[in-house]
């Protein structure tokens, strides 16, 4: 009789302990999954305040959607693993990071938000993507989504539904309300000789500064010894550039909207050609689908999200209304202007290895970014959005934001071997890229770039397909990228004989 009883007792205790453990885990999970627990550390306005104002707190039915219902996957979809991952990360951040060093607005943007919002969670409560109330546009967008479930996230279009952003609403009046300002310019600037000038866009209140860049010879590209150098940046070769003018700052929304107002078209023009030549310079953009400034503000901020085609059309229009030959810079002009006489990775003293956030030791021991921060709007100081030009210090030519704020379209087609093919060609005066290609050169860094990627020699190119991923139309918009927010443009004006070149007929 004692045998079974002796066995039974530990068994009972074991079961009791197991039950207790399960209950404890349940309690702990419940405790750590409540809104108050999250809110204890997430005291910044991007968390609780914006959530309370969002459509997920103030729902039509009065149902409230809580933090973990979006920010953790539903039960069964690696819930425990994700909870552990987030928990460890949050504890680490709370203990080791200064709270004000975290850019919460940046974390709210798509790239980051995708890491802490789960598609499965969206679809748990929204399994019906075609409710009766859905608009025609919504139907098209959801059909588009269903065909690309691996490429698209709910967040691509519904970024602000969990945390209200007053700037995110669609701006129907884009480009229609002109800034209240003083005088309407009657005529463009008259320029005699080669010196800095201020251009006036006739019929508007908009003006912008052009800097005279003296011609010269420089070493283009980066040596193999440069940290984070990529293959397409070499070999270093000597290039001569003729004098030209360059915009002191990247083209602003004020300037770009002047073009849009003057030329906008009502409907979408149905043409698949992206051929620039032969298109009427006054052909204008169609209205953007979402606020093209991402709600960050327009005015003097650099214009963004325009397609390469739209950027080129802007320069053609600008030439037509000012009687000067404006265009995008060639890659050689761009790098010459950006260097302003400097050799090395930046136009200020700095070592990419010391400045990059990619190295763990830099993250651990910190980096001295004082010089970088003063000259460049980059990932580390931008808060994940563009800044006003006045917030950066110019280079030796007086040009602002050559390396930061937004990346810039160049005139040339991109090819990885452009520099290699110049070897042995003798003296290079105003060299151009390949005669044809599929994507154009993009230079400089942006508010999103790491210091390793915003070196003077860094070369990049347009990515047309990726930049139009969520555009559900065919042909996709010629004028606005749906998925590219960190590229803009800077104009140059050609110099001829004694003054600005006249536009080509």
């Amino acid at each position: 009789m004692t045998g079974p009883r002796r066995l039974r007792r530990p068994f009972v205790w074991g079961v009791a302990a197991g039950v207790l453990l399960v209950l404890l885990i349940r309690e702990a999970n419940t405790f750590t999954s409540g809104d108050r627990f999250c809110g204890a550390c997430h005291v910044h306005p991007q968390a609780t305040t914006s959530w309370l104002r969002s459509t997920h707190y103030t729902t039509k039915s009065g149902m409230v959607v809580h933090c973990v219902e979006c920010h953790l996957p539903p039960a069964g979809v690696a819930f425990a693993a994700q909870k552990a991952r987030l928990g460890i990360r949050d504890v680490f951040g709370t203990v080791f990071r200064q709270r004000d060093s975290l850019y919460w607005e940046e974390r709210s943007q798509l790239e980051h938000a995708s890491n802490h919002v789960y598609r499965e969670s969206c679809l748990l409560c929204h399994p019906n993507l075609f409710p009766v109330e859905l608009t025609d546009k919504g139907e098209e967008a959801h059909l588009h989504y269903e065909r690309r479930p691996d490429e698209l996230r709910c967040l691509n279009c519904h970024l602000h539904v969990g945390h209200y952003d007053p700037n995110a609403a669609q701006e129907i009046e884009f480009g229609l309300a002109e800034a209240e300002e003083a005088r309407v310019h009657e005529a463009p600037a008259t320029v005699d000789g080669f010196h800095d000038y201020t251009e006036f866009i006739p019929g508007t209140t908009v003006s912008f500064d052009m800097v005279a860049i003296p011609g010269g010879t420089y070493e283009m590209g980066s040596p193999e010894s440069e940290p984070y150098r990529r293959e397409d940046e070499g070999p270093v070769h000597s290039v001569t550039v003729s004098p030209f003018w360059m915009g002191r700052v990247e083209v602003t929304w004020n300037e770009f909207e002047a073009w849009y107002r003057a030329t906008r078209a009502e409907g979408r023009t149905d043409t698949r050609t992206t051929e620039v030549a032969g298109v009427d310079a006054l052909t204008g953009a169609t209205p953007p689908y979402v606020p093209p400034d991402q709600g960050w503000g327009k005015g003097d901020r650099p214009a963004i999200t325009m397609t390469y085609f739209a950027a080129v059309q802007y320069t053609r229009w600008l030439s037509a209304v000012t009687g000067k030959r404006y265009r995008l810079p060639t890659e050689a002009e761009w790098e010459y202007a950006a260097r302003a006489g400097a050799a090395g990775p930046y136009f200020f003293a700095g070592d990419p290895r010391r400045l990059t956030e990619r190295r763990f030791r830099n993250r651990l021991f910190g980096r001295n970014t004082d010089a970088l921060d003063s000259f460049v709007v980059h990932a580390g100081n931008s808060g994940g959005r563009t800044k006003l030009p006045s917030e950066a210090v110019p280079n030796a030519f007086g040009l602002v934001n050559m390396l930061g704020n937004v990346r810039e379209f160049c005139l040339d087609w991109y090819a990885p071997a452009t520099y290699r093919e110049r070897v042995g060609r003798g003296a290079l005066v105003d060299p151009r890229g390949p005669a044809a290609g599929t994507e154009h050169v993009v230079r400089g860094g942006s508010f999103r770039s790491d210091p390793a990627d915003l070196r003077l020699a860094t070369r990049d190119h347009t990515r047309t397909e990726q930049c139009l991923m969520t555009d559900p139309q065919a042909p996709k918009s010629r004028w606005w990228y749906s998925d590219c927010t960190d590229v803009g443009l800077r104009v140059v004006c050609e110099f001829e004989d004694t003054g600005p070149a006249r536009p080509r007929p």
């Binding site: 999970n29 409540g34 039960a75 065919a474």
Partner: protein
């Protein structure tokens, strides 16, 4: 283990909703079949092809589009089972409505009161405000996406004629409305009647059991004559003329490849596993059509997944060799999809066992009536059957072929799923219209 207190109550709520939804689980399985799960076809449970729909509470139907087909659909509906009524009519033209109304009175003794007869472009909306449970849609295809969406939004079960649109925008609108209808538990049966024929269904079962092996190619044909056209009357405006002559105008009918040949393309899509082509290259032209702006003939090479090619051919010219059929060829044999399977060497491997009456006449199938029996059966047995999406896919397949022939270019499914092509006037009202002077498309010039 994941619930916090608030969360668990919400999840319980969702589970309760789920339990209610489980009543329709059988229907969901059926609907799943039409979404293309090949292995389930072996036990293809739908439609059950009953002789008559089961009894149940009265189902009142309204007809939108009271031409010949709409009138026929109304009569077929009344024959589909007990307690079925047609109680409202809508058409753009008073004379079309009157002839339908008279026919219902003469043949079935059904009297539709004046207050349930609606005339004009808004007539369908007025009809949807009545207490009808079911809508029978037989307008020209141009109207279908808009009318279908309105029917779904009004929570009506729908029988709709094929094709279901004339352009990519319309086809996608129907796809979206179909999904909305699913969410509302509505039943939708379409006029692709081969899917409601016992012989086709039996042949399909044999093919999915491997009777012809893996499908390697297919052909389909609708080579016939122009079904009808109207001479223009002096007092007709451009729009009225085109509406009355709609089967000859691309913006109204989609051209005959869409309006008629969609039947055969739907069968091919079906036998290839509810697939759709990835691309199309075709040619066509116009030689002797008496009316409208359409082509006489189309010939298209469709490419499906795994490089399976399907040749589609359709023609509306009198006095030529006619053929209306399909043929799928597999690694072990081939089938006409309708009633017969051959081995590779040409000997018959299987034949559908038709029944014959005393006079030796074949009994059935009678697909036009069967469609309505199946619709009413679905509604009364609470099976959520929705054929709109697959018919939209068949329609878009035909549209894709048409565009390839009109332009001479290769057209892809991806382009169709994104194209903003929308035919017809911006605003439809009687009066003059440039569309009446539409130029017949010339390939290679677009």
């Amino acid at each position: 283990m994941s619930e916090n207190e608030e969360g668990s109550s919400r999840r319980e709520f969702l589970e309760t909703v789920g339990a209610i939804g489980a009543v329709g689980a059988v229907g969901a399985m059926v609907a799943g079949c039409s979404a293309g799960m090949g292995e389930q076809y072996d036990n293809y449970p739908w439609p059950p092809l009953l002789e008559s729909a089961p009894d149940g509470p009265t189902l009142r139907a309204g007809v939108i589009g009271c031409g010949g087909r709409g009138t026929g659909a109304a009569l077929d509906y009344l024959d589909a089972g007990p307690n079925l009524e047609v109680v409202a009519l809508a058409d753009y033209f008073q004379d079309r409505l009157d002839s339908c109304r008279n026919r219902l009175r003469e043949e079935k003794g059904v009297e539709i009161p004046d207050e349930r007869c609606f005339v004009g472009f808004e007539a369908y909306l007025e009809l949807l405000e009545t207490d009808v449970d079911v809508v029978l849609m037989a307008t020209p295809p141009y109207f279908r996406p808009e009318h279908f969406e309105a029917c779904v939004d009004a929570r009506k079960h729908v029988f709709t004629e094929k094709p279901i649109a004339v352009d990519p925008v319309g086809a996608r609108s129907v796809m979206a409305s179909a999904r909305t209808a699913d969410g509302l538990g509505l039943c939708v049966v379409t006029g692709t009647q081969r899917r409601h024929q016992a012989d086709y269904l039996a042949t399909f079962r044999e093919v999915t059991r491997g009777a012809i092996g893996e499908v390697v190619s297919a052909n389909c044909y609708w080579n016939g004559v122009v079904p009808w056209w109207r001479e223009r009357q002096r007092d007709w405006s451009d729009i009225e003329y085109m509406l009355r002559d709609w089967v000859n105008w691309t913006w109204l009918s989609g051209d005959h490849i869409v309006e008629q040949h969609v039947h055969n393309l739907d069968v091919v899509n079906w036998f290839l596993g509810d697939a759709h082509p990835d691309k199309a290259v075709g040619f066509g032209g116009r030689a002797r059509r008496p009316s409208g702006d359409q082509y006489d003939f189309f010939s298209i090479d469709f490419t499906y997944e795994n490089d399976v090619h399907v040749h589609s051919m359709c023609r509306q010219i009198a006095g030529c060799a006619n053929n209306i059929s399909e043929l799928v060829r597999g690694t072990k044999g081939y089938s006409n999809c309708e009633n017969r399977i051959w081995r590779t060497n040409g000997t018959v491997a299987w034949e559908y066992p038709y029944e014959y009456d005393e006079q030796g006449e074949r009994i059935g199938p009678r697909p036009y009536k069967q469609e309505h029996i199946d619709l009413v059966t679905a509604i009364r047995t609470n099976q959520r059957v929705n054929e709109a999406e697959r018919t939209a896919i068949a329609t878009l397949t035909a549209i894709m072929g048409r565009i390839s022939c009109y332009t001479g270019q290769e057209v892809t499914w991806d382009e169709m799923m994104e194209s903003d092509l929308k035919l017809g006037p911006d605003r439809l009202e009687l009066g003059p219209s440039e569309l009446v002077r539409a130029v017949v498309p010339v390939p290679g010039t677009a």
